[in-house]
Amino acid sequence: MELHILLIFMICAAIVAIEVKDLLSSVIAVGAVGFALCLAFLVLKAPDLAITQLVVEILCLIILIRATINKDLPLVIEGRWFFNTVSTLGFIAVFLLFAWLALKELPGFGEPIMAVVKKYLQEGVSKTGAVNIVTAVILDFRAYDTLGEATVLFTSVIGIMAILRRPGRKK
């Protein structure tokens, strides 16, 4: 029940973020979506994800506000609205079709298959020694994924530092 209220709130905040004219208000509405997602993780009893979502949302909000607060970007609404609307509706229809085809194969919400997870839950503490089962999975059973994730972050830092460095901006 709380989850449905949070989901409806998130959809409303996302629509507000799109429709509002001011850029700063739009950023704050996006932040509201993120904090509601954090609460949704808490309702679904995932405190690790809730902590991560909270702190990353704060950092993203600071960066976005810092980036938008001094800029007046004009909102571009011009012609071709008929083509834009038709193509948007077409893509929504295609997306919903494929989502329906893909999602009907999944197990129901709150009814996991528990094929691999059962082994992790039973043997996690004895095999890794870590009491927090999430850390045991991401740093021991699935550590290779975490290495890839760390590589992604490393690459993004390299990219930002290479594009935005000061000598590169001379003409």
Binding site: P47, D48, A50, I51, T52, V55, V56, I58, L59, I62, I63, R66, A67, N70, V125, T128, G129, A130, V131, N132, V134, T135, A136, I138, L139, D140, A143, Y144, T146, L147, A150, T151, L153, F154, S156, V157, I160, M161, L164, R165, R166, R169
Partner: protein, 146 residues
């Protein structure tokens, strides 16, 4: 430089920041070190560490924050932490395979337990904290230099 009224926010914000920024940094380090015992872990704790430096920069201006962690130090620490994580993974080859937990497991619920997992958490925490702070620093410097 810290008491310069020209840069940063007002005196109220600076005073509160001076009191709280150390606690935020300490909380981030706590989350990183207790990643195998309580919710959190390397990524979340690293972001909190980065947020403490971002807090410093927003309150006191960018010169104070750069004097604590410069851009070169940030990029060097980022690379060192990435290599540290990779070398912990490669150390598993001593026991036979990649990412093998070769250290002794210890007793559960102790701080020094779970083999390589706290070391991986520390490496990821340094990497994420320094990396996100470097991104923020780069964006702010570019915005100022225009």
């Amino acid at each position: 430089m810290i008491n310069n009224p020209k840069t940063g926010m007002t005196l109220i914000v600076k005073t509160i920041t001076r009191l709280t920024v150390g606690l935020i940094l300490l909380f981030g380090i706590y989350i990183v070190l207790h990643g195998h015992l309580s919710p959190g872990g390397g990524f979340a704790g690293g972001v909190i560490v980065a947020l403490s430096f971002v807090h410093l920069m927003l309150a006191f201006g960018k010169d104070v924050a750069i004097s604590k962690v410069s851009k070169n130090l940030a990029s060097n620490l980022e690379s060192i932490a990435a290599l540290m994580f990779l070398s912990i993974a490669l150390l598993g080859f001593l026991g036979g395979s990649f990412f093998l937990n070769i250290l002794p497991k210890g007793t559960p619920f102790n701080l020094f337990s779970a083999g390589i997992i706290p070391l991986c958490n520390i490496a990821i925490g340094i990497k994420v904290g320094v990396g996100l702070f470097a991104i923020f620093l780069t964006l702010v410097i570019v915005e100022k230099s225009k």
